[in-house]
Symmetry: C2
Subunit: 409 residues, 2 copies
């Protein structure tokens, strides 16, 4: 019997009506002859509410108990889904992480899956079970404690199940019906992509597209799991995330992403001497700050200005790290300033590997709209620029037009 | 290190404030030198809400998934309690049923505990854990599924833990501060008992006193677990449920109980022949009707009337069973009538074993108040009468006065 993994996120199972809609999508695949591993997230806002309860107990809480609390959301949802499927006459049962078992590391709250035992489910499939409803986001540590995978971890659970069971496909059902060339809320003529490569999806996910969790795309890429992003609320075909080779025609640029979770920190009048960059970014790394873009202006009289970006939530940590470094004498600077009134806009496309001129075209399009670029970072298949937050929508639209993303090649 | 089991019911952990109050009671015992097994129920109305969700999926639901759903209430509450205890600097951790493990039968929804593994908890106590916060009401079946013990099952969980770990005492924290000579809401001068025997507690529990679940008292009696019923909301000493021999002075009557969950069914003009009682009560037993009191009136012309009582929820089942028996020809009768406008009032006391005249005194007291007795049942240590519901309060007060229960011997 061919196997399929189907993952339903929180908004897709937020109430009983939506759960029934999701169940009928599962039933349809069963009727087509598939056995299904359905990976279920917690209903609606459950996880946020549970996190609130934990935070109410103490500011410094035990991550193992945090995991025991928040995992109840997925345990509940998966058992309810099994009941709803049974009501549709689909032979289904729920599986909590420890029952499968899904084995994880002991890094509670951000655990990684180390393996999924297939025997238990296989035996039940052999006995006639059609759907194994697996609680997403959770597993069991070597110490026998419940461990969770971190926010959005159900995507990763789904890909891990698809890998372990060698599933034909891993369908991710969510509240959008695929991956778009840009956020449709910003760009009216954004186009849904039929296919996108793992590499591009990975860039888009880490650049702020909220469709898939970055880790799940990494995992899918490593094990060549065919991921399909689809809507829970309609029957559109969705977007297939697959190998580059499986995509016949490729635009040079596939999509535009934007992120507001970007802050710019400037360190002014830094003593310019060999090793100063190491001292600055070493102290930031030691404090766990994820630095993205870096700019260093030309130095005058042995003093230079340095600018970098990091996630908004890490600004305080970054500022503290730098002040501490100055007190210890490892870095000298006159002043520092943080600016969260910025955003990052990125163009992503595998075609950039073989085509030059993408950056020029991008910068030109922004210049035409009088949008000033405050920082730039690039990788092999993406170019990101930092601009004032007020320009975000105009920048995304300008780039979408410039690269003619409305039209498929 | 001496061990104590402390059980907290749903109203005792209904919000974070109450959870903190419960945690400080646990901490106090730890400070006195005890290691504690804290058995926790689901918070407030959680279980009812979860049952509602299950019932929303289907009218005929899989009891295994029902258990997977409702057990999340205790899993959540026990992990939160561990966090609250840790915040008070008490080394605590949560244990779900499968983690202990608490082994049960496969009778999902009404499972019985078959054993509790002690190794895991003992090892953690040896490493410095002071409180094992165990999720009440749940265990794991031989098939590795979550099984629950039925309503009020957390009391049974607590006694089972106290038995398995040979605890010095099993404290049941609830919303009343002990066992009273009568329901204090009905009888203003009801007196809290310092001690009560297992046998009496068992009668009171099954007669409608809601303080403890009947099964938990049975279990405590069998294994001689010293049960203490105490309030979560004050520091009163509570009531110790213990061996008869541990109670120095004993009133002849210890308490009065009343129950509204009693219906009277009369079968009129039954053919009076040998074997008819067997036929009537056999068909009721086959249908799962719990018959309590039975009255048969003197027969005339080969016809008799029979009256019995059963729980209100079983009236429909009883009526159907009798009609079916008549259709099949195994029982002949003219008519039947059901009356739920009645109540059962009982006096309970171990002293009855050695003292005569309790029944006479009881009937006399009710007669003085013009309360008509509609049925009677007795055991070695209790006498129950059925009266019209309208007389319930007056009957309970009259008996409380008659046996002078306000005053301890």
């Amino acid at each position: 019997m061919p196997l399929l993994t189907m993952k339903f996120g929180g908004t897709s199972v937020s109430d009983m009506e939506r759960m029934r809609a999701a169940a009928s999508k599962i039933k349809r695949e069963v009727d087509r002859g598939y056995n299904v591993i359905a990976v279920i997230s917690a209903m609606g806002d459950t996880t946020n509410n549970l996190v609130g309860l934990v935070e109410g107990t103490s500011s410094l809480f035990d991550a193992r108990e945090y995991d025991a609390v928040i995992s109840t959301g997925e345990s509940l949802a998966s058992a309810l889904m099994a009941l709803v499927l049974q009501d549709l006459d689909v032979p289904a049962r729920s599986w909590q992480g420890w029952q499968v078992p899904v084995r994880t590391t002991s890094a509670h709250g951000t655990a990684r899956i180390t393996g999924i035992e297939t025997k238990g489910l296989q035996a039940k499939f052999a006995e006639g079970m059609k759907v194994a409803v697996a609680a997403g986001f959770q597993g069991v540590s070597p110490e026998g404690r419940i461990a969770t995978l971190g926010r959005g971890g159900s995507d990763t659970s789904a890909v891990a199940f698809a890998t372990a069971f060698n599933c034909e496909r891993c369908d991710i059902y969510t509240d959008v019906d695929g991956v778009y060339t840009a956020d449709p809320r910003l760009v009216a003529n954004a186009r849904k992509l039929e296919k996108i490569s793992y590499e591009e999806m990975l860039e888009l996910a880490s650049l702020g597209a909220k469709v898939l969790q970055t880790r799940s795309v990494e995992l899918a890429m490593r094990y060549k799991v065919r991921l399909c992003v689809r809507s829970s609320f309609n029957d559109n075909s969705g977007t297939l995330v697959c190998d580059e080779e499986d995509i016949m025609e490729q635009n040079i640029v596939s999509g535009i992403a934007q992120s507001l979770d970007e802050a710019k920190i400037s360190i002014l009048s830094v003593e310019d001497r060999p090793g100063v960059a190491e001292a600055v970014f070493g102290s930031l790394a030691d404090s766990g700050v994820n630095v993205d873009m870096i700019i260093q202006t030309i130095s005058e009289r042995k003093l230079t200005d340095m600018t970098f970006t990091c996630p908004v939530s890490q600004v305080e940590r970054a500022v503290n790290a730098l002040r501490t470094a100055r007190e210890r004498g490892s870095v000298g600077f006159r002043d520092l300033s943080a600016d969260t009134d910025v955003c990052k806009v990125s163009v992503v496309g595998i075609g950039m590997r073989s085509h030059t001129g993408v950056a020029t075209k991008m910068f030109g399009a922004l210049a035409k709209k009088d949008i000033n670029i405050k920082a730039i970072s690039t990788s092999e298949i993406k170019i990101s620029v930092l601009v004032d937050r007020i320009h975000m929508e105009r920048a995304v639209r300008a780039l979408h037009d410039e690269f003619d993303l409305e039209t498929a090649t």
